[in-house]
């Protein structure tokens, strides 16, 4: 098969090729998946329909939080995709555990079912969230409900194999706005102070007031796209995902998360320092760099974190060739 990379005379990157094949085969399998779901699994609609109806009100609250310009939580809609990828990577273990339980115990056996209390707790939290109109509580309630459904239907043993993606799902819980504002202010001031130290190497008269960096004939603020928190949080969540995906040990994961945070903050401070240095000569370019999407810095920070993970963590991805082989 000729790939675009091969057509250009370059050797195809094995990782990208694997991912491309995986996406292609997943899309091709969708119609068959839908047919099979309807014929064999449509009883799931009994649970899924009210579950998503339950999310109807809170979903509008979440949208309002995520749609705020330069929101540090704008990455959260992507979290379910990360959780699905983790579940997909664990699917063999889940299937094997399920089959083993089915071989040993009859469907009527209590070991095949879990308690309904967790699902009930999730529902209580959802009702409380509706009464208090609290988005974070609604999201926690929803995740607990989903976990409760899985526990009740599959039992504790299978549930434990699904714990990793379920725990990762908690990164979608919106932080309280007052806390985000407070953190945002601290990070803005910190980024401005760090950037000022770099600028001082070239312009010693530079000073900082709060989140404002003042040079002789130019000034800029650590705010909006360059506030720091909106690159830190997504980088941390991506690093956590990578650590869970590669089944890193807790200590290694902690090192990776610390490094990811430091890299993200360092890059943002360097961006601000560059804004200040360029702004002295060309204001328009400086503004463009200042307003550069946080996703660019996040992408760069995560790439550096990824390179670090290659060195300190297990190098072999759990996505081996067999996982994505076309049937």
């Amino acid at each position: 098969m000729t790939t675009p990379a091969a057509a250009k005379g370059k050797a195809p990157s094995p990782q990208w090729e694997t991912i491309r094949q995986a996406v292609h085969s997943a899309l091709a399998a969708l119609p068959e998946f839908a047919r099979k779901f309807w014929s064999e699994e449509r009883h799931w609609l009994l649970v899924l329909t009210p579950l998503f109806l339950l999310l109807y009100g809170p979903f509008q609250w979440f949208l309002r939080i995520w749609a705020v310009p330069h929101s540090p939580l704008a990455f959260q809609p992507l979290v379910p995709l990360g959780a699905l990828a983790l579940a997909w990577a664990d699917r063999k273990a889940i299937q094997e555990t399920y089959r083993a339980m089915a071989d040993i115990y009859l469907p009527t056996n209590k070991r095949r079912r879990g308690t309904m209390l967790l699902a009930a707790l999730g529902c209580v939290l959802m009702v409380m969230a509706y009464l208090m109109m609290l988005a974070p509580l609604a999201m926690i309630g929803f995740i607990v409900t989903v976990a409760g459904i899985l526990l009740h239907l599959y039992g504790g043993t299978v549930f434990l194999t699904m714990l990793r993606p379920l725990l990762f799902l908690f990164t979608i819980v919106p932080l309280p706005s007052a806390g985000v504002d407070l953190l945002q202010k601290s990070f803005q001031a910190g980024s401005a102070a760090a950037a000022t130290q770099v600028i001082k190497l070239i312009h010693p008269s530079t000073r900082v007031i709060g989140n404002r960096i003042i040079l002789d004939n130019y000034s800029t603020t650590a705010s909006g796209a360059s506030s720091g928190l909106n690159t830190l949080l997504p980088t941390l969540v991506l690093a956590l995902w990578l650590g869970l995906f590669r089944k890193m040990k807790v200590g290694v994961l902690a090192v990776l998360l610390t490094a990811a945070g430091a890299i993200s903050l360092l890059l943002n401070s360097l961006r601000l320092a560059l804004v200040g240095l360029i702004g002295v000569y060309n204001t328009a370019w400086a503004e463009r760099l200042h307003d550069l999407s946080p996703w660019v810095i996040t992408g760069l920070a995560f790439y550096l974190t990824y390179l670090l993970a290659e060195r300190i963590g297990p190098r072999k991805s759990r996505l081996d060739e067999e996982d994505f082989a076309t049937p």
Binding site: S39, H43, L46, L51, M126, M128, H152
Partner: protein
């Protein structure tokens, strides 16, 4: 001769024990979803009522003074009325009537003070408007100048009942008042307004006797007019935000 391919056998239905689990969960989720939709509908309806306020309460004459933009924004930009009541001795009492559209509207009343910088030094919950009809009475003090303010804060429902419920801030300690407020709004379905009335205490009135007398008189006048409006109110009949009446 070719043998026709046999149609794939339809998969066996899930075991009854498995289906029972699905049904139990479905029942739980349907009840919760309906409850959630009901609560959402009830809370969404809040804030439709903004009552008339009197132009005259005894010797006090009203002058229109809307909420500051900054304050209104912090309260979630609800519909509101602002009046300053002045008597012949030029004593002034500020009042705000705020439609309880969202939880933001219930926030700390001290933040409505011009310039802010006030701290709560004392509070109690007296029956200002009759037995069981409470308001929250507060003494606020300016951190720098020492100026004192007397404030009455209450939530008044369309049926005339009141509560002096504490304010809501963004802290864990306020979860209970928040839950209570949401529960009341969802179960009763009654419209409510938040009323704040405050006055500065003159240095010549160290025990705040005159200030308290004037504040109570205006608050009771406001209460009566709002109660009257609440009895006549039906959805869709709210007067314009400049609505007022003479008492």
């Amino acid at each position: 001769m070719t043998t026709p391919t046999p149609a794939p056998a339809s998969p066996p239905p899930p075991h009854p024990a498995i289906m029972a689990g699905f049904r139990r969960l479905a029942a739980l989720l349907v009840v919760t979803a309906l409850l959630g939709l009901f609560i959402g509908f009830r809370l969404e309806r809040q804030g439709q009522w903004l009552p008339r306020v009197p132009d005259q309460i005894g010797a006090w004459t009203a002058v229109e003074r809307p909420l500051e933009d900054r304050t209104a924004k912090a309260l979630g930009s609800p519909r509101s009325l602002g009046r300053q009541y002045v008597n012949l001795l030029d004593d002034r009492i500020e009042t705000h009537v705020i439609a309880a559209e969202s939880f933001d509207a219930f926030r700390e009343p001290a933040m409505c003070m011009p310039g802010q910088g006030f701290s709560l030094t004392a509070e109690m919950f007296p029956d200002v408007f009759g037995p069981g009809k409470q308001a929250r009475a507060m003494v606020l003090k300016h951190d720098e100048s020492g100026t004192r303010v007397l404030m009455l804060f209450w939530v008044q429902y369309e049926d005339g009942s009141t509560t002096g419920l504490g304010p809501l801030r963004a802290s864990a300690a306020d979860l209970m008042p928040r839950l209570t407020t949401g529960f009341r709004a969802a179960t009763s379905g009654k419209q409510a307004v938040i009323v704040r009335a405050y006055t500065f205490v003159s240095p010549t009135d160290p025990k705040a006797i005159l200030a308290r007398r004037g504040l109570y008189e205006v608050a009771q006048g406001l209460f009566k007019e709002i109660e009257k409006d609440g009895k006549a109110w039906r959805p869709g009949t709210t007067k314009a935000t400049t609505g007022s009446a003479t008492q």
